[in-house]
């Protein structure tokens, strides 16, 4: 009974926070002058140009998804499962792009490789002319978004590797080399994680507008953006966001189809050992060099551009002054949001993994749909639902920002929890049940301790996504409560590029330091 009540409340919370605002927006998009009208949708479907833009978005999203998966998964294995030196350093470095708004990365690459870029004196005008042409278009967009989203499959691969039953790999190692074991045993076992990270990257790229706009590649979200930004037409803007629902539904169908033969593996008390490590011998030097080069191009190069731009200490002093309390607010809101996301993600993940309610599939799909939806749509939906005299005490407080984060990012922490919970034998909970423990006690004293690793990953992921959010925050933050990423965007309009660069560096450092201290030693714990 207790379990049912809590899980129904959880589902209800997701509906209230996420679905209701979206429903209110969708209703507005089909009601014009008091009458039902599909005019906004008709305009969208009948435009040839929109189909071309859709094709562009799908192309870009597919390319970025494939590249990040093909490179990110082996990188995750390299950093999470081998004895390559400087693993922690490479992991921190490769995670940095995820902390920056993708638009900033695009600007950095432009500052480096553009016609007035830093490399122009070095490489010459002709070479730069070609790189500049290449940067402004599909290839450039792919490079920038690949840099921005590569950390997702890397981190998720490392996290999901820890859920593989060590006996499975050890049994295979008796008959085959590590290469064959990875291909035949390990990768199939972490396939849910790989597909999930691919889905995340696909949806994030599909919904991205800032980078393609800057790099002159016309994409589908531009229509929704124009309707909001130029025409203030909420109906049309919402209508143009709805194809995201269709794309998300198709992506989920594909994911379900690919996972249909997936079986759960169960760990016992005896299996709670360290993960088997691949000891590299002759290949550790070339692989270290490869990892170093990747870190160089993906992260160090664009970040270095930012550092060069902001080399003056006086600039940093000015930037810290400009940042004001926004940095502290960013970290506070992200920390609280990550905690709430972890709790909600665990409960939702439990609901999905155990199929405790009949609507488990609906809840899973709903969270993914909310993740895919542009933050602006969610933001305006939140305003229309919560901006009333009755609920003003919520709307006029930073709590509204947290509601936005919960709506948008629960999918991530939920899926991480699902995978973590799949690792735990049901008899662990059953044993506690026959000992008389209520469901909450079983969750608190058995499930949560056994899910510790997964919950840490969920918290960190929720923290990063909440911290870097601008689309929702921009729409709903109470006056005077802006976060640092939002402030960076508002200061970009005629703010000095040097100060913007230094603000970005401050943002990265402020988030990496606590992340590095708290998480990485646990994540990369090695056998003695």
């Amino acid at each position: 009974m207790q379990k049912r009540i809590v899980l129904i409340l959880t589902a209800g919370l997701i509906v209230a926070i996420g679905l209701l605002p979206v429903i209110s927006m969708v209703l507005k998009s089909v009601i014009m002058d008091g009458h039902f009208s599909l005019e906004a949708y008709h305009g969208l479907m009948s435009s040839k140009r929109q189909w071309i833009l859709l094709k562009h978005s799908l192309t870009l999203a597919t390319l970025v998804m494939i590249l990040t998966t093909v490179i990110g998964v082996p990188t995750g294995i390299l950093l999470g499962k081998t004895n390559i030196p400087l693993r922690k350093f490479f992991l921190i470095v490769l995670t940095v792009p995820l902390l920056l708004p993708p638009y900033i990365i695009a600007v950095s690459y432009s500052d480096l490789l553009g016609q007035e870029g830093l490399l122009m004196p070095l490489l010459g005008e002709v070479f730069i002319h070609h790189t500049s042409q290449w940067l402004f278009g599909l290839p450039g967009c792919t490079l920038v978004l690949f840099s921005a989203f590569l950390p997702i499959p890397v981190v998720l691969t490392i996290a999901f590797l820890r859920t593989v039953n060590p006996h499975m790999e050890e049994a295979a190692r008796l008959a085959a080399s590590w290469g064959k074991v990875l291909k035949g045993i390990t990768l199939p076992m972490i396939m849910p994680g790989i597909l999930f990270s691919a889905l995340l990257v696909f949806l994030l790229t599909f919904g991205e507008f800032g980078v393609p706009n800057f790099l002159r590649y016309d994409v589908f979200p531009v229509e929704s953006f124009i309707q909001f930004s130029a025409f203030y037409n909420f109906q049309a803007a919402t209508a143009t966001s709805m194809p995201m629902a269709v794309i998300t539904f198709l992506a989920l169908l594909i994911e379900t189809y690919l996972l249909r033969k997936q079986t759960c593996q169960i760990q016992t008390a005896q299996d709670n050992r360290q993960i088997p490590v691949i000891y590299l011998q002759r290949s550790h030097i070339p692989l270290t060099i490869a990892a170093g080069l990747m870190a160089l191009f993906i992260t160090i190069v664009p970040v270095f551009t930012l550092i060069i731009k902001s080399a003056d200490p006086a600039i940093y002093a000015q930037a810290i002054n400009k940042a004001g309390n926004s940095l502290l607010r960013s970290i506070t809101y992200a920390g609280i949001s990550a905690t709430l996301l972890t709790v909600l993600g665990l409960l939702t993940g439990y609901l999905i993994q155990t199929r405790a309610l009949k609507i488990w599939r609906t809840i899973d799909s709903l969270t993914i749909f909310l993740f895919a939806l542009p933050g602006t749509v969610i933001g305006i939906g939140l305003i229309s639902l919560w901006n009333t005299s009755w609920t003003n005490f919520i709307y006029a407080s930073p709590l509204i920002i947290l509601l936005g984060y919960l709506a948008k990012y629960t999918a991530i922490t939920s899926r991480i929890s699902v995978n973590q919970l799949a690792k735990i034998s049901p008899s662990m909970e059953e044993a506690a049940q026959v000992a008389g423990a209520t469901w909450l006690r079983r969750m608190i004293f058995i499930i949560i301790p056994l899910s510790r690793q997964g919950l840490i990953v969920a918290w960190l992921t929720g923290y990063v996504f909440s911290l870097r959010d601008t689309s929702i925050t921009m729409m709903v933050y109470p006056a005077g409560h802006d976060t640092l990423p939002v402030r960076i965007f508002t200061l970009m309009a005629n703010g000095s590029p040097e100060m913007i660069a230094s603000l970005c560096i401050i943002l990265v450092l402020a988030t990496l330091l606590p992340l590095g201290i708290i998480s990485l030693p646990a994540l990369l714990k090695r056998p003695e």
Partner: protein, 235 residues
């Protein structure tokens, strides 16, 4: 008069169109040791899970100590209120808790005062011969030691009924014999009703008062060990 502790009345259960238990009726009397014997996949574990309350029978009813606890696809009394102890096939020892912690969990849930709790844990560990291993984690114990912890955890709450799902299947012959002797000894001293599941004939005959033979989800035979042995000899 023998008191019926566990009653299964025309219970059926299927999974994905496969019939696991088929119109099964069973009566288990107080303070007896009943062994359910059968090949893998015949439905033994399903019966235990039905009695524990983890799953509900599609048809039929289950009574414990005269009280109806499950009937017609509904669990009327949840597992945590059935006063049952269980030793799982994979033992399900909580890896993050020590031996002491595994035993203390249920006592804390029942809000047993600390002094009393420690006394009961001490006595139970002594009973199963693990007094010196209280602070070890399950991963630091041998297979036999883990079995005894699982047994102690099931017994410490003084349940009326103990369910055991092939608890000794992974142990060597020598350890198997020692532990099943211990199980019989504990049952006779503490007086609980034991429902024990195994596919091992020797194990069954050495433990049981009553043997139940399960085949394809149906009760083929229920009787004393002597009767069971005669049946096997004929076959």
């Amino acid at each position: 008069m023998d008191i019926k502790v566990i009653e299964l009345n025309s219970v059926s259960k299927s999974y994905n169109n496969h019939i696991a238990i088929d119109n099964c009726s069973l009566n288990i009397v107080q303070e007896k040791r009943v062994v359910i014997l059968g090949a893998s996949g015949c439905g033994k574990t399903t019966i235990l899970r039905l009695i524990a309350g983890f799953i509900a029978p599609e048809t039929g009813s289950i009574r414990l100590n005269g009280q109806q606890v499950s009937a017609n696809n509904k669990i009327l009394v949840p597992p945590e209120k059935r006063n049952i102890g269980m030793v799982f096939q994979n033992l399900a020892l909580w890896p993050h808790l020590s031996v002491h912690g595994n035993l203390a969990f249920g006592l804390k849930v029942q809000a047993v005062p600390e002094k009393e709790r420690e006394k009961r844990i001490y006595n139970m560990l002594k009973l199963v011969g693990l007094s010196r291993l209280a602070q070890r984690k399950p991963s630091e114990l041998s297979g036999g030691q883990q079995q005894r912890v699982a047994l102690a955890r099931a017994l410490i709450l003084n349940p009326d009924i103990i369910l055991m799902d092939e608890p000794l299947s992974s142990l060597d012959e020598d350890l198997n014999i020692r532990l099943r002797t211990k199980i019989v000894e504990l049952q006779e001293n503490l007086g609980f009703t034991l429902l024990y599941v195994t596919h091992n004939l020797q194990e069954a005959f050495s433990i049981a008062h009553t043997v139940v033979l399960l085949k394809h989800g149906r009760v083929e035979f229920q009787g004393s060990v002597k009767q069971a042995k005669r049946l096997w000899q004929r076959q």
